[in-house]
Amino acid sequence: MKKTLLKLFIFLVAIAILTPLGLLAEGDAWGEWSADTLQKLVGFVPEGIKKFSSLWNAPFSDYSIKGLNDTAGYILSAFLGIILLVGVFYLLDLVFFKKKAQ
């Protein structure tokens, strides 16, 4: 199983390096516009969007990292995502597998 995980991990790293291709597409996803963009699109910003859109300020908003250009920030975000997700499930495995093994 260790070998399998390693193979798949290498596969992930290769994909992470390619993620900046996702920056080439221009524009936002439908229904995911910022308040400013919405102002331009429909001529006003709905009250609810004014109220809730900045409810949470994510540290790496839009997969960008302060001080880095878009491409570097995107790749680093991709690696951060891998580390966090692989890490979370690794910890869950430690907790639940160990418990069951006892």
Binding site: I15, W56, L84, L85
Partner: protein, 233 residues
């Protein structure tokens, strides 16, 4: 397909959390029951894969962008409840760290992308594949159709959730309070993006990775077959 905060009313968000949380609890229970097979580290890998897939924005008709998700793929390789958890966790990290998808809207995003998508996709896959062996032509065709239907089912629900907002929530003079686009615009926009482009991106990812796993890591399929036997025994 990541709904940001402010596009859905707090009431809608509450309803979506009320639907999604029990499903997540059920999925967790099912997955933990199977942990003796060491599926959790694999789940981490596939969860990260889904996270990465969603970073590949592709241009779609209408000047917006869309992306694949990989939920049906995970359901086929590791199991439907495993897919629910893997995609939910990816969405959680995206919302909290990268501001992709809202915190209030997390329940809705989980419902669309992490529950409906893999379960519908896997259901269609199962109907078509019957018990076709891994790596067979029939299995790959079933995976292609399942993943296409799955992502489009998610897109449809996303469009409906956004589109009902101006109908339900507006000021006295009719100005929308949340998503300003009605059903007649939200549903066609979401469907156009996913029926034409993102659906096929999902198909390519699903079939491509299935073929990759079959060639380079077939032991994963063996693991899943073992799980099936154990579950039906």
């Amino acid at each position: 397909m990541h709904i940001p905060d402010g596009y859905l009313s707090p009431q809608t968000c509450g309803v979506m959390y009320a639907i999604s949380l029990p499903v997540l609890a059920y999925a967790s229970k099912k997955v933990i029951k199977n942990t003796s097979n060491r599926t959790l580290p694999l789940l981490g890998i596939f969860s990260a894969f889904s996270f990465l897939v969603m970073m590949f924005n592709v241009p779609v008709p209408g000047g917006t962008t869309a992306h694949g998700i990989g939920g049906t793929l995970i359901a086929i390789v590791l199991g439907p409840w495993e897919a629910v958890l893997a995609v939910s966790m990816a969405l959680f990290i995206q919302a909290v760290f990268f501001g992709d998808g809202g915190i209030l809207a997390y329940g809705a995003n989980v419902f669309n992308m992490a529950i409906v998508l893999p379960l519908v996709g896997y259901g269609v896959y199962k109907l078509i594949s019957k018990d076709a062996p891994f790596g067979s032509k029939r299995q790959l065709i079933a995976a292609a159709i399942g993943s296409y239907v799955g992502i489009n089912a998610a897109a449809l629900l996303d469009g409906i959730e956004l589109g009902i907002q101006p109908l339900l929530y507006h000021t006295a003079n009719g100005t929308p309070l949340y998503c300003p686009y009605p059903l007649s615009q939200a549903v066609p926009a979401m469907m156009l993006a996913h029926l034409t482009i993102a659906g096929f991106v999902e198909v390519v990812i699903t079939v491509g990775v299935l073929a990759f796993v079959y060639k380079y890591a077939p032991e994963i399929f063996a693991l899943r077959e073992g799980l099936n036997e154990k579950n039906t025994a």
